[in-house]
Amino acid sequence: MQEMSVFWLRAAVVVYSLGLLHAILTILRREERFFPPAFTAFLVGATLHGVSITERWIHKGRLPVDNFFESIGLCAFLLATSFLFLHWRYEFRSMGVFLFPLVFLMTMLGGMEAPVNVWSSTQVRGAVLLAHVSLVMLGYAALLVTALASVFYLIEERRLKQKITSKLFLRLPPLSTLDGIITRAMGAGFSLITIATILGIAWAQREGQRDWITQPRILISLATWALCLLMVFLRTSVGWRGRKAAVMALMILGCSALTWAAKVFLKPS
């Protein structure tokens, strides 16, 4: 019975991944034409998710919130149903960019309670690790570009606001160009880090001990990813640009540095 619950949950993760794909395409291409299929998939995913939780509830005889995995899975389900309600009531599609990836990752974590200690082959293990590290590095590089462009944006904005006419600053690109660089680099950074995080979680589950999810380096990585998600949401949906977006990009670069330090110095116990 519990196996069926996990099966429905993993099926929900697969369907939710279409929502994640929609979010990435929206961030990278600034178009929302993939929303209708993504929303339908999200609806199906939420239904499967609901079936999984109900089965577990019936099996246990109580609400399944006994551990981190059950709690985060339930939390993801509540977020999904809240969004479905809000969208039905207020046509709140812009929130999808934030909630689709978040619900996907939370549900994915929720489905990782059962330990998996085997790799199908050492080649697969090596490939997953290589892909994770490469994507993380590329993602950090994109975030670094975002942060640098943000610094230049802040300098250029300050110059234009304060009417400073020094020739030195005239070498900087126009504000709109810097804004475009920030948007593209941030979108690319978020997409790369999202895929890297998914691979990283899968790798950690197989490699780590039972308490892999509570390790600080995993938690810091997830927090950085969440902050990244918040930034892209605020930019694409709320329209954060200029100073606020630049400061946020710098914060995320700081968090990424912290994540990297955690990966290097905080070895699993």
Partner: protein, 425 residues
């Protein structure tokens, strides 16, 4: 032969004089050809713009070119020479070349670094060339002037910053938006300054212009100029959300845009930047609007400061440009002096060739009959020997011609080789 520039410009003559002495474009070719007929003038060109009238000429050393040019101007424009003379300047030789280079590089312009003068100079050159009044010397000096102007523009930033309020608006807009293609402009008030700024913005690509004014008739007449839309003055706030650049020049005695009224606009634009140019006095936009995120507000004083700062940049660049011009003038003078040695060099080469041919002829009888290949070989051999011998004296002739105290050396070489080349000056 010497090189002369005689003329007047905005620093030596008021506009009443300049317009009296200007040449109508359609009569310029006749004028330049008429000038060429003056005795002693070898090559002529007339440059006539709103800020200067200049006659450039080469003349025989014996000719009083200044007198000839002044007479021509006086007769052509039917003015007294005594009236004309105080406004004229006259340059000869190196000074004339320097002046021409400075004019081409826009260092002598009213607005230093403005690009039009080079086009006007090229047009004057074309007119003179078509009229057949140019020959090798003036042609060479003028093409050098164009090259120098290009070098100054490439190696300095003399023409890169705006020096008018209206163009400074375009420059600032570019620093915010990059390309201005399809940017939306809203004109609040239909003043002359805002029209000028809008004209520059439209030229830079901002195609979507909306006009509003208290008087709908004025708004409509300005809208016609730019093929723009009009919105009623009472409801222009509705057009703000979609406007990237707003130019205010209304005569309202109070702020027409305040921090309060702009906050919803900032929110609706989702952080997209907005450039506000307030060229009205009293000001139309509350200064604190500049503190809003994504809003860049410049009033008339701010724009003026940008212009002044750009002027300073141009002045600093002008110093570098003067250095380039000095370098190019020296090079040009050297080239012209070397050209003076050409008759001597030709004479030397002719004399050596005549000697070679005579000696070949003399030796032919003593040689056994030669095949054409052998004759060709001996020709090549003897020419090669002569060229090697002549190389030293020819280089020395060129060096002496370019040197200010080379006259004695030239004379010595002339006597040594019994050359009959004419003037080397």
């Amino acid at each position: 032969m010497n090189f002369h520039v005689t003329g007047l410009n905005h620093t030596t003559a008021p506009v009443e004089v300049r317009e009296r002495l200007a040449f109508a474009p359609e009569r310029l070719a006749d004028a330049v050809a008429g000038l060429r007929n003056a005795e002693g003038l070898l090559e002529t060109m007339v440059l006539s713009t709103c800020n200067r009238v200049e006659i450039t000429a080469t003349a025989d050393d014996a000719c009083d070119a200044r007198d000839r040019i002044e007479t021509f101007l006086s007769v052509y424009h039917n003015v007294e020479r005594d009236w004309l003379r105080p406004y004229l300047y006259h340059f000869t030789g190196t000074d004339a070349i320097r002046h021409l280079f400075r004019v081409a590089a826009s260092l002598d312009s009213m607005v230093v670094g403005e690009p039009q003068i080079l086009g006007q100079l090229k047009s004057a050159y074309e007119t003179a060339r078509t009229a057949g009044t140019l020959s090798s010397t003036l042609e060479s000096i003028l093409t050098s002037a164009f090259r120098v102007a290009k070098r100054v523009r490439t190696e300095t930033e003399i023409g890169q910053s705006a020096v008018s309020v209206s163009y400074a608006a375009v420059e600032l807009a570019r620093q915010i938006f990059g390309s201005l293609d399809h940017r939306k402009v809203l004109l609040i008030g239909a003043g002359k300054m805002s029209e000028l700024a809008a004209r520059h913005l439209a030229r830079a690509g901002a195609s979507d212009i909306t006009v509003t004014n208290r008087s709908p008739a004025k708004a409509s007449s300005m809208a016609e100029i730019f093929n723009a839309r009009t919105v009623p003055y009472e409801s222009f706030h509705t057009a703000l959300n979609n406007s990237d650049v707003v130019i205010t020049s209304s005569g309202a005695p109070h702020f027409v845009l305040t921090c309060e009224s702009m906050r919803p606009v900032v929110h609706a634009r989702k952080g997209r930047p907005m450039f506000l140019i307030d060229i009205a006095v009293p000001r139309n936009i509350e200064p604190s609007v500049n503190s809003l995120d994504g809003i860049f507000l410049y009033d008339i004083d701010d724009m003026q400061k940008v212009v002044e700062s750009n002027m300073l940049v141009r002045q600093a660049e002008a110093e570098e440009a003067e250095r380039i011009i000095s370098e190019e003038v020296a090079r040009m003078m050297q080239r012209l002096q070397q050209r003076g040695a050409a008759p001597l060099i030709v004479s030397l080469q002719q004399q050596l060739e005549a000697t070679r041919l005579a000696e070949m002829e003399r030796m032919r009888a003593r040689l056994a009959p030669l095949t054409p290949e052998q004759r060709e070989l001996i020709d090549v051999l003897t020419r090669g020997i002569l060229n090697k011998i002549a190389h030293g004296p020819i280089s020395e002739l060129r060096r002496l011609a370019a040197s200010p105290d080379g006259a004695d050396g030239l004379e010595a070489l002339r006597r040594a080789f019994r050359l009959d080349g004419n003037d080397t000056k």
